[in-house]
């Protein structure tokens, strides 16, 4: 129905389209920016095209990987998609699956986030591919990403091993006109052929599998469809520029706009690992000077193994951290070509408003209550919208998914061994709790740690676009209730309440603290829906008004920080921004003077 007509597709939609077009029927993922839209788009394309698929939001990336991998072991085409730090979670099956190999085409999409824009690290998934000894493809645009999906699936079947596709934020979240092609209905049936020597290999056979993997890699280093592309074939020069990913897209535009076509030979690398052996040889013999442009680590540069002639990240010619922006590439290319660097305009600005929780977000109320109940507490927290509680002074640590709980227990033990006790209130989101919070909670109970854990339960994965959590269940499965999981972990104090009722919620946290000081872990489930979750109908609530008794003490703007409360420099009083206020009513309880009152029911 969509065939042959250019359609606007986001990079993530384009990769999803590629998956469906190439007969992929199992897809599993855990949401994470910039990869979140891949799975939902696979589901949408699958439905539009009438393909029977299993598409799931798994509880975490490791499980997602295993679900998709088993489909490949059964001969079907499958994909797992995640962000780069999600691949850390899935790294255990990743390393092993490289040895065991695949039957049906199996692609791992791991989206990197140079910048970083929405991540804890700028790690380069291509290094993970190297570590696992798996080939990795590096698309420069949404349309190329779609093409490489098909290529990766075919490669995976030809060489019987998983193939990684590594887009970056600027590919995932770029949109482009793309013409869909018809879907291949492969009509394969799942057939798992028992072969314990391979699928359950013991260390002795693992050695042989490793030798076999090395053989596959050397063949892949000569695989024609993914060989480097020479973009200006008629240019003769002893200088070469080698670029991959979106850096190649930036560079190619700079080259044509700034007239650098004849200044150097320009190659685009599609497969940064393993680098094609002929190409490595050519670089070694045909050029005196080579510049490598890639994100985020010098993976290609490293494999060129010649630090005298090759410049890049490792040599210091290209910044080793941060996004490689087109204006930087322009400067680096001009310098490399020996051209005067054009008088470039000032760098792109930074600054402006910092991100903050939505006006009326229930997390803000939870954090405010936690600060009230345990003003001297340590507040370990976690990954999600609520990380923004750092603005409120209610988030002291953010390490990785689920770490709030492990760290809370760790802080308790660190103080205990030195003969001290502190109030510790950890916060974790509902989705993050399911993802990585259960093992550390069991550990805390078993080790007798004492702290309060507030599970911020807004029944969704908000930050990444409101994906479901296990607490919602699926059409074919059952919902898993958070309180039962908590009880099952052995926690004896577990109570739920709505944080928007600030006074009652604050007393509940105090009660939990009293319990935790004497007896062990206490869990409070803060239950209140996310405001931007479209599945939930939010009642229109009246917006409050600030009356003349406001003294401008700024308690509500500084300590509570609702973006809809604005301090007016002229009147030196606070006003409610009616463009922004959601009418949650929590500020009524925040103002110490009760100067914020319920207004007349305007929408």
């Amino acid at each position: 129905m969509l065939e042959n007509k250019p359609t606007l597709m986001q990079g993530n939609e384009a990769m999803a389209r590629g998956m469906v077009e190439n007969g992929c029927v199992v897809a599993a993922s855990y949401p994470g920016t910039p990869a979140s839209e891949i799975l939902s788009s696979i589901e949408t394309w699958g439905k539009t095209e009438g393909v029977t698929m299993h598409v799931e939001w798994a509880v975490n990336e490791k499980v997602a990987f295993e679900i998709a991998y088993a489909a490949s072991q059964s001969g079907l085409r499958a994909v797992t998609a995640m962000k780069q730090v999600g691949l850390n979670v899935a790294s255990d099956p990743l390393m092993s699956a490289a040895y065991l190999g695949t039957v049906g085409g199996f692609v791992i999409i791991s989206a990197d986030d140079p910048g970083p824009h929405s991540s804890q690290t700028e790690q380069d998934s291509r290094l993970m591919a190297m570590q696992a000894k798996l080939p990795v493809l590096d698309p420069s645009s949404p349309s190329e990403a779609r093409e490489l999906v098909g290529c990766a699936l075919r490669m995976s079947e030809e060489f019987e091993l998983p193939v990684m596709l590594r887009p970056t934020t600027r590919v995932c979240h770029a949109c482009q006109d793309i013409t869909p092609v018809p879907v291949q209905h492969l009509e394969r049936k799942a057939v798992f052929c028992k072969d314990p020597q391979r699928w359950a290999a013991t260390p002795k056979f693992r050695y042989e599998l490793h030798v076999e993997l090395n053989r596959k890699l050397s063949r892949i280093a000569a695989y024609a469809p993914t060989a480097p592309r020479r973009l200006n074939p008629s240019t003769m020069s002893r200088r070469a520029v080698v670029a991959s990913g979106v850096s190649a897209a930036h560079a190619s535009e700079v080259v044509s706009i700034s007239g650098l076509q004849d200044a150097f030979v320009f190659y685009q690398i599609l497969q940064p690992y393993p680098l094609h052996s002929d190409f490595v040889e050519e670089i070694r013999t045909a050029y005196d000077e080579v510049l490598v442009l890639e994100e985020t680590t010098g993976v290609i540069e490293m494999q060129l193994r010649d630090f005298l002639r090759v410049q890049g990240k490792l040599s210091g010619a290209v910044p080793e951290a941060g996004e490689l922006l087109p204006e930087m590439i322009e400067r680096i290319l001009c310098e490399f070509a020996g051209r005067a660097v054009a008088d470039l305009s000032e760098a792109a600005p930074v600054g402006g408003r910092r991100p903050t929780l939505c006006p009326g977000c229930p997390h803000r109320a939870s954090f405010y209550a936690i600060k009230k109940a345990a003003p001297q507490g340590i507040y370990p927290s976690d990954i999600g919208c609520y990380t923004l509680g750092v603005n409120l002074g209610a988030v002291d640590t953010v390490l990785c998914m689920g770490a709030a709980i492990g760290q809370a227990a760790g802080f308790y033990q660190a103080y205990r061994v030195s003969g001290q006790q502190r109030d510790i209130v950890a916060t974790v989101g509902d989705s993050t709790f399911f993802h990585a919070g259960i093992p550390p909670l069991i550990d805390a109970v078993v080790q007798g740690a004492r702290f309060v854990l507030v599970i911020l339960d807004n029944t969704t994965t908000a930050m990444t676009g409101n994906q479901p959590t296990p607490a919602q269940g699926t059409p074919s499965g059952k919902a898993v209730d958070i309180a039962s999981v908590v009880a099952g972990c052995g926690v004896e104090f577990c109570r739920s309440a709505d944080p928007l009722d600030l006074p009652a919620f604050t007393s509940l946290i105090k009660e939990a603290l009293a319990f935790s000081c004497k007896q062990g872990v206490a869990v409070v489930i803060a239950k209140s829906p996310c405001l931007v979750d479209k599945r939930i109908r939010h009642a229109k609530r009246p917006q409050p008004l600030v009356d003349s008794t406001c003294t401008g003490c700024k308690q509500c703007t500084d300590q509570f920080e609702c973006p809809a409360l604005v301090f007016d420099e002229v009147s030196r009083k606070v006003m409610v921004d009616i463009m922004n206020c959601s009418g949650c009513g929590v500020c009524l309880d925040v103002c110490p003077l009760k100067a914020i009152k319920l207004g007349e029911g305007q929408p």
Binding site: H117, S118, C175, Q176, R354
Partner: protein, 179 residues
């Protein structure tokens, strides 16, 4: 071939993505290649959100500083923040309650879109009001009629939403004096 580089900036929740995709789809409808870059994730929570939109023969999804033809700003503060992306004779269309001067040869048109959207009883529609204003200057690669066609195509299954969207777009196009 027509070639235009645009920036659309505002804060999370203002519907920046919606209007940048609307323009990108209009570009495709006109048979022009397009590439954009969007902001997602953490920044969407009330932080600065910016879309880059390049119509014509481009391979990079990002606009370099000093290269943009136009800036559509849904928050007045973003004019200062993002004007360095503009080329020396670029234009700005901004949501501003009290107009302020910009230095240099930049051409600026303004509209008090917050007030208009409130008056329409549709505070979510600031994005379309400002887009309407930008279209009315004639500096964009497409016309109000072309964008209207895309809107109709996009929202054909949601007539109520479509009507509100068209009202907002038209309010931006007509509801104010040219400056």
């Amino acid at each position: 071939m027509i070639s235009q580089q645009l920036l659309i900036s505002g804060v999370g929740g203002q519907g920046i993505l919606f209007i940048s995709r609307l323009l990108a789809e209009t570009s495709i409808a006109k048979g022009l290649p397009v590439i954009t870059s969007e902001t997602h994730g953490m920044a969407q929570r009330g932080g600065i959100v910016i879309s880059h939109l390049k119509v014509g023969d481009f391979s990079s999804p990002l606009v370099r500083p000093g290269q943009a033809d136009g800036l559509i700003a849904l928050k007045s503060g973003n004019v200062a923040l993002h004007r360095s992306f503009l080329r020396s004779c670029g234009w700005i269309a901004a949501n501003v309650s009290e107009p302020f001067p910009v230095s240099g040869e930049l051409e600026m048109t303004t509209i008090d879109a917050d007030a208009i959207a409130l008056k329409l009883g549709n505070p979510q529609a600031v994005n379309l009001v400002v887009l309407g204003r930008a279209l009315s200057t004639g500096s964009l690669f497409c016309t109000t009629e072309e964008v209207t066609m895309t809107l109709i195509h996009k929202l054909q299954e949601k007539p109520a939403l479509l009507e509100r969207a068209l009202t907002a777009l038209n309010a931006g196009t007509t509801d104010c004096p040219r400056s």
